[in-house]
Structures are given as C-alpha cells and as structure tokens.
Symmetry: C2
Subunit: 356 residues, 2 copies
C-alpha cells in the first residue's frame, strides 16, 4: 500500500476520493436530493418543502489572520459566507450550529467579540443560533458553522440546470474583496516591518486606510444576498442554476458548467467591477479584471436564466447580464476588453502561474 500526502492530490482531488467513500450512504434516505457537489446538501422534508444545509470550517492562518481581522467582523463574515451558500440554493437561512476550538490561553473577551459578530449577523439575516460545541485547541482558533435553510421543491436551485441559450447573470460588483485583501496585506507587512525596526506604529497609516474603507469592507464584511432571494420570490423568478462567488467568477462559473454539462461565453466589458477596486488595482499595478475574475470571496450570486425571462431582471439595478450559456463543446470563453476571445481554462492557469 502506497501513501500519498493530501498536498499531492489537492483539495478537489481529496473531496472526490472522500465523496466516493460516503456516496453509498445517500441510499439510506431516499429523501436526499443532492449530496456533496453543490453549495448545500438538499433533502425533502415534505411533498413540497426542502431543507438545505451547509457547513464551513474556518481555520486560523488558513482562512483568516487575526492580525488583520477584527473578531466582530470575523464572526459576522463566518455567518455571512454560510448564508451565502444557502442563498445559492434560492433558499433562506433558518438555524445555525457553531463550534469553536480555541487555545486555553485565549482571552474569553476575544471569543465574546467573535460571538457578538455572529449574533449581529444572525439577527440581520433572521436566523437563530441554536447550538454548538466548544473545545480547547492545541494551536490557533478553529470555527465550524453548520446552517440549515428552507425553500420549496419548485424553487430550490442547484448548480446543474443551466441550458444553452440561458443568460449568465451576476449580482453586485466583483473585485472588492481582493482589493481590500491586498490593502490589508500591505498594511500588515508595514506593521511587521515597523515592529522589527522597533519603530512606533504610525497612526497616520490607519487614517490613510479610510480611503480604502469600501474595499476593506468588501473583504472583511461581505454581505450575503438574501435581498436577491427575496426579489426572486416576489417576482417568481427561479434561476436554472446558481452558485455564490466564493472561489472567483471563472472558477464558480466553471462549477456551474461542469455540473450542467454546458459551456459559457462571457464578456469582460460587462463584468461589474467595484469602482474603488479599480483605483486600488491601479495603485498596486494589477489588472482589476484579474481580481474580478479570479479573486474570489465576493459572495455575490452567479445565476443563469432563460433568455425569455430577461425582462423580469432588467429593471433590477444590482443584477448584470455578463454572457450566455453555450453548448459544452464550446468550452468556457471570455471576450476581453480588446475584443480577443480567450479560453478561461487557460486564463485561470495563467493567473495562478503569476499569482502570489
């Protein structure tokens, strides 16, 4: 028997292998509609209702950096990213269970601040924090959140279901989270440099951060788009497929296409970019479209809709049509701002290659 470190097969390779092992357990309950492979698991609770459920593990140094993340914000974001997964199923959140593992020496007051952020966000979204578990941790803070949501069998929207000809739509703006992260990383480097040189921390720098506040807010306090789910509900819109943008527009559109067995063609010039992100990208001598396309963590919704339903979303000022679903053979294409058409699979690889 040979042994292979996880790092060799990567996260998606690992998920595939573990999912294959637990797949047979799906047959234990015929009410299960969707298991591993979407934003949430989905099961029927009655003839017409479904419950959706998601879980997220946040590990210090892997998912967050306590040096640049206020705990209240971290708590709020931890709730928001799970609500975002619920929204991606066209459902509304109901209950959350929260577990933490924390070092014994961590001040209780820090955890209280974290939980105040969670409670604040929970009330914002109308969900109840119903339980959890606490444990000591040998190293760093780990947060685990599980959340259930609810919708009807008719409304529940999976990643699969996109059809050639469907419009590709995105909510809000993209690139803000990556812009904010870049500012915070630069700030952290400055702070560490000053500490190393025994210089006092320059308070003016903090004041200067004000001009980046919008982008930083997009990174530290992303909001889940429950408002869009309400809008869908009111307008009786049911997308053919949906996902939330956590990995980046290109990667998440790729998930929809793979699961739906379709291709996609989007236009760079139509992608809604956060204006502040544009200014910050210029300052960092980066391409803001790289941030918008591959940056991730914007937690906007990406969905597809039959062309005939364009009128139903046309008037919504926060929904943008960025392209069209195509046949699978056409692949994932992007027409850039110069009119060049690129294979997004290649582009993504290119970005990774030059990435940090």
């Amino acid at each position: 028997m040979s042994f292979n470190p996880i790092s060799e097969i990567g996260e998606f390779g690992l998920i595939d292998r573990l999912a294959a092992i637990v797949a047979p357990t799906k047959n234990n309950l015929p009410e299960l509609i969707e298991g591993i492979g979407d934003d949430c698991a989905v099961w029927r609770t009655s003839d017409s209702m479904v419950q959706v459920a998601t879980t997220d593990l946040l590990v210090e140094t892997v998912h967050f950096d306590l040096l640049t993340t206020p705990l209240h914000h971290l708590g709020s974001k931890a709730i928001s990213v799970n609500v975002s997964d619920i929204c991606a199923m066209n459902a509304m959140p109901c209950y959350a269970l929260i577990s933490i593992a924390a070092p014994r020496e961590m001040p209780v007051e820090m955890l209280e601040e974290l939980y105040r952020g969670m409670a604040h966000a929970a009330t914002l979204y109308g969900l109840a924090i119903a339980g959890g578990d606490t444990s000591s941790s040998p190293a760093g803070l780990t947060i685990s959140i599980s959340m259930t949501g609810q919708t009807t069998l008719e409304k529940v929207t999976l990643r699969k279901g996109a059809q050639p000809g469907d419009l590709i739509c995105v909510t809000g703006t993209l690139g803000g989270s990556t812009a904010g992260l870049n500012v915070l990383m630069r700030e952290k480097a400055t702070m560490i440099e000053q500490l190393r040189n025994n210089e006092p921390y320059d308070k003016n720098v903090m004041a200067e951060l004000q001009e980046y506040a919008e982008a930083i807010r997009h990174h530290l306090l992303p909001g889940a788009r429950t408002d869009i789910i309400d809008f869908f509900n009111e307008e009786e819109i049911v997308p053919t497929a949906m996902i939330d943008i956590s990995d980046g527009l290109v990667a998440d559109l790729g998930h929809i296409c793979r699961r739906s067995g379709v291709g996609a063609h989007i236009e760079e010039s139509r992608i809604p970019v956060l204006p502040d992100a544009r200014a910050i990208a210029e300052e960092f001598q980066q391409d803001v479209f790289d941030w918008a396309l591959s940056g991730g963590e914007d937690y906007q919704l990406l969905f597809t809709l039959p062309k005939e339903q364009y009128d139903s979303i046309a008037s919504h000022r926060d929904i943008t049509v960025i392209g069209t679903i195509t046949e699978a053979e056409e692949g994932l294409l992007l027409t850039d701002i110069f009119g060049m058409t690129i294979d997004m699979a290649e582009m993504k690889r290119g970005f990774d290659h030059f990435g940090e």
Copy 2:
C-alpha cells in the same frame, strides 16, 4: 477592559457566556423549542414533527490520540457519539455533514480509512452523509460533525421534565470505556518506553490485549442506542427526561436534575457495571464504581420514567432502574455498596481531586 484566559472560567463558564450572547437570536424563529443546553437543539418543522440537531468538534490530542486510535474506529465513533446525542432526544438520526481540517502532509489513505469508518457507521444507523467541508490544518486533525434527527412533538424528550417520584433508568453497562482507556494508556506508555530504549516493540503485548478486547471495544467503538429508541417507539414509552452518558453518570444525572429542578437518589449496588471493567479495575487497583460513576464516554442512555410505567420497561434485559428522582432540596444522593449515603456533588469533587 480586563482579559481573562478561557482556562480561568472553564468550559461550562465559557458556554454560559457565549450562550448569553447568542440567546437573543432564538427570537428570530418562533419554531425553536430548545437551543443551547440540551443534547440537541430542537425546532418544529410542522404541527406534529420536530427536527433535532447536534454538532461535535473532535480535536487531535484533545479528544483522540492517533497512536491508540485506529482511524476506522475513530470515524465510526465520531458518528456514534452524534447519533447518541440524537437518541438522547428520543429521535432517530437522518443527515450528517462532516468537515475535516488535516495537515497537508497527512496521507490521503489515512483520511479514506477515517471516512470508511464514518460510512460504515452511517449505514449501520441508517443515516446519510450529505455534505461537508475540507481544509488544511496548521497542526493536527480536526473533525467536525453536524447531524440532524427527527421525531414527533409528542415524543421529543429533553433534559428537563423529570418529576419527583420518577424512576431513574440506565441502559447497558457502565465503566467499560474508562477501563478500555486505561488499558490503552498503559499500552501507549509501554510502547513509548520501548521506543525510547530502542527495544523492538514486543508483539506478545498485542496478543495479551485480547483479554481486554471487550473493554477496549467499549472505548474505541461505543454504539449509540438506536435500539432503545426503537423499543420506546414500539412500546409507546416517552421518558420524562433523557440524556446520553458522555460526561459520566454523576455529571449527566446532574444535568437532568439541574434542568428539571429536581434531586435524585441512586444506589451504587444497582449500577450495571461491565464485568470486564471490574476485572481491569482490580488489576489497576482502582474502584470500578468510580469508573462507572465518573468515567464518561459510555454513551448509554440515562432517562427518567413515571413509576406507574415500570412494567413497560421491566422485561427489557438491558434497562436497569438505579434510583428515584426526588425533590430539589434533597440534592443528589448516592447510597454506596456499604449502605452509606453520600452527596454526589461532594463525591464528584473528591474524584476530580484525586483523579489523573
């Protein structure tokens, strides 16, 4: 503002402070029946049905030791302890979400073995593993399991509800898990000693472990008592209060009494002790009743029932009546095998004091 390390207020102090912060979110959903403070959270899903949900965080070095725990067993136990929490509500398990954080250098094959154990247990209990999350970890393996279960509003059983005069009943036998743990800890010490002295590991020691197999199995592979929930269902028994024995009989009976506002009087001579645990305790020069009363991790069910319903359980060979619920003023009393009556609050403190 003063800062206090978590270690100063302990786990229960921490839970109290965090629960107070999230308590107001309960009002966001009137369907919530029970939040933090029971084995599971409980909410109504229809006029007659309730869903229960629990979550457990298992941290390497805190909850398990990979040196003495085969990963298949660990996976199976991780599922069982959550099913046990579902059973403690008089409910049956439905869906589980599983997250893991693992070091990048951990062999994929180890995690596959862990997941095979989980899938095996899931099928045993008829539940579906419906989703999860994976992450890298800077140190050690962390497992987070969330699980939902289902029962009716009439059958759901909380920790509160025990009435003076009720019988106190326990399923199966106690002390086995602590006996098995003691054997494994001694084994580990021997192994480490031999490694330190560069001696080859003595294979005969492994063979000798056979005689402790039953106790070790109780520690590594405890089973959740879904069979008891089936029995309650068939006999239309609804306990007045129930909990699973994870912290130890005395501590868990204490939880029922506190939540129900009652006292309890149990008799040591009636406590069902695993025969093998008795022999091992003798070998370790320990009191097997200490293990049965305070050892924990036996995952048996502890429940209370009106005296008039004694006949309904009398014929079940795996349910033992160990005492009676009393008025709160009488406290938690134990009559030991010598006929002495002791305050369990004192006894517990005594045990902790001399404990490892």
